[in-house]
């Protein structure tokens, strides 16, 4: 077992232990909540939703290089728009209220990001534009990360509604990257279009990406206090900070390199996440130290 796997194991063991701890605390939590106006600095919960990705191209690469200074567009990739690159995420939340308005949360979870692009190639008979061959490729990449975000949240309660803004940093560890390519080869002639070949190629391409993804997070949301359980909806912009492509392995995948003439560009993945959020207060009892917390939750429950 290498060190990375060991750290992963420890990390997940701690998460499980933490969840067990939370579960054990639930009975007293709800008892306490119903008996008094619960006072707690801690909240636990989960969130999940969909995301939309847009790669920022840091440096473009192509297997093809056109001779004769010809600009046929044969080497260019056309990336799909933001709304076509959908993925999903789900996160566990552990939140600690620093004071009435400010809290810090730790939100480990899983996110899958997708992005896609196309390239079109064509070959012609000189002086005969009708007799051509075109080749169209559609590439789709799915990247699944375990993410460890830490966020600060500022909120202001107005009755049962608490709008908030939040910001923080996230560290993502790539679990798996998949790539699928579909291609269509067509002969164009006077008698019409003749499909020559349609192929699909799909494989795991984790080697083409580095393990790490660092991101800055910023977003807005709103909570509704439903008898102490906070239901929320939020939008978070997840701005990748680093190139996620493994530059040293760019030309290593021979299937895609020479089969589909494709190598990845250097990209920085930008993402918008829409999440549904559920938070439960965790009763830690009432004492002098929890005065600020009392105030916080009383304010929430007014």
């Amino acid at each position: 077992m290498n060190i990375k796997r060991l750290i992963q194991s420890i990390f997940f063991t701690l998460i499980i232990q933490y969840l067990i701890h939370v579960e054990n605390a639930q009975a007293s939590l709800f008892d306490g909540f119903q008996r008094n106006n619960v006072t707690s600095r801690f909240f636990v919960g989960f969130k999940g939703g969909i995301n939309f990705s847009q790669p920022l191209i840091l440096q473009s690469y192509s297997v093809f290089s056109q001779v004769s200074g010809l600009n046929t567009g044969n080497e260019a990739k056309t990336y799909s728009g933001f709304l076509k690159n959908t993925g999903y995420q789900y996160h566990f939340i552990g939140m600690y209220n620093i004071n009435n308005n400010l809290s810090i949360s730790f939100q480990p979870g899983v996110a899958q990001y997708s992005y896609s692009y196309e390239n079109d190639y064509s070959w012609i008979t000189e002086g005969d534009d009708i007799n051509t061959i075109t080749l169209n490729y559609s590439h789709k990449q799915n990247l699944r990360y375990i993410e460890i975000p830490v966020l600060f949240r500022f909120e202001y309660a107005i009755g049962n509604i608490s709008p908030y803004i939040q910001g923080g940093i996230s560290y993502g560890i790539l679990q798996q990257a998949d790539k699928s390519v579909s291609s269509e080869l067509i002969q164009h002639s006077l008698s019409g279009d003749i499909p020559l070949n349609v192929e699909d190629n799909e494989s795991v391409v984790s080697d083409l990406f580095i393990r790490s993804r660092l991101a800055l997070l910023g977003g807005i949301g709103i909570n509704y206090n439903l008898n102490g359980v906070l239901l929320g909806l939020e939008a978070v912009y997840n701005a990748g900070l680093n190139n996620i492509v493994n530059e040293s392995r760019r030309f290593s995948n021979q299937d895609f390199l020479s089969g589909n003439y494709d190598v990845p560009d250097d990209i920085n993945l930008q993402n918008l996440m829409i999440n549904f959020v559920v938070l439960f207060p965790l009763n830690k009892g009432t004492n002098q130290k929890d005065d600020s917390c009392k105030l916080f939750l009383k304010k929430k429950n007014k």
Binding site: Q59, Q66, S248, S258
Partner: protein, 402 residues
Amino acid sequence: MKTVNVFWGILLSAMVMYSCDIKKSDISPEESFSKVYDHPDYNVAYYPLDVVEMPDDGFLILASLSEDTLVNNFLGGYLLKTDKTGEFEWELRIPYPYVSPVPNLLNINNSWHLLCMDAVTQENRLLEINTGNGTVNESGRHNLQFPLFAMVDHEKNILALNFDRVGKKSILTRYDQNLNPDWTYSYDIVDDVENQIRLHLNKMGKQFPFFIGEAGINESNPHYYVNCFKNYTMSLIFADVNNGHQTGILNTYQDDAAISSAVYLDSSNFALSRYYLEDNYIFSKVQLQMDEAQNANNFNDSRVPELASNAHVKTIIYEKDDGDKIIVYTSHTKTNTIVMYFYSYETGELINTKYLGSTNPIEVAALISSSEESLTILFRTLVIGRFPRIGLTKISKEELGI
């Protein structure tokens, strides 16, 4: 609270551990790349011949070019210059009547040259390449016909192999740097191979591994070795460096067998590859007696069943910065991949194998050592299984895994 602190500890540790790979991934685009030089006209066919690395770390590629507008039977010459990342910089269709360049760029007084044929007379023409503006000018000519290969020896003489179709001979000539002959020696051919050689030059038939090399130049027994037709077979001839006289020979079997590559190692040791009735064999360290007649079938060499029939094989000595030497063979397999075999220079044992490419047909044209201990392979590929194009791949020393 303690648990939260542990989480933060783990978070920070994980970030430190995993963040290392952000830096580790860093590699400049010039350290490793793979390019295919495409042209949108599907009647154009390129046949790459040789590549050299330039002082700016870019590459100069020599190829033959077939276009439907070509008015003669022999293929035109083509030069392509790339930058250090493999991107196209300029190209030159070598003007008529210069055709059929031999597959070896010649470095003469730090200026690149190529030997080709006059389309009308079929005689030798030496062209100097101006790599600055992508032009050529004739710098020498000689009346021997059908040039097949040329090289520059360690004394800066030009060695050329020609075919005499009238006298049925293979001819080895040593020239000075202006293509003035020093000596000429011919080797008789019994069979009529003119048609095979014409097809070879037109890239239409079997491609024969014609080449010339030097052996024992720093020792007491220097020789040239020449792979050409002699009597009934493709043979590896050992020639006296002073007059070209044959001193020894390694025979194969008619034109169904040949030595496909040979590199001199030391003493009387060579790294060889050969094909025989479509099978391929490698002998990473074999003793050849340069003053005797031998037969390639007597070797106890290794059959390489994965290689394509009568595969082109390119072999070089790869020398690391620390002086460690490795014998590198590269060729193409039946499954459309380029394969590289790495053998110990000292023991001749296989130490690593690497595969490149897949799916579309591919053939190796040249293999060179390049900057930063990398290797660069020039190859021909059929884009989407149809269009013959030039390909170039540079493999960094980290990727070589040796």
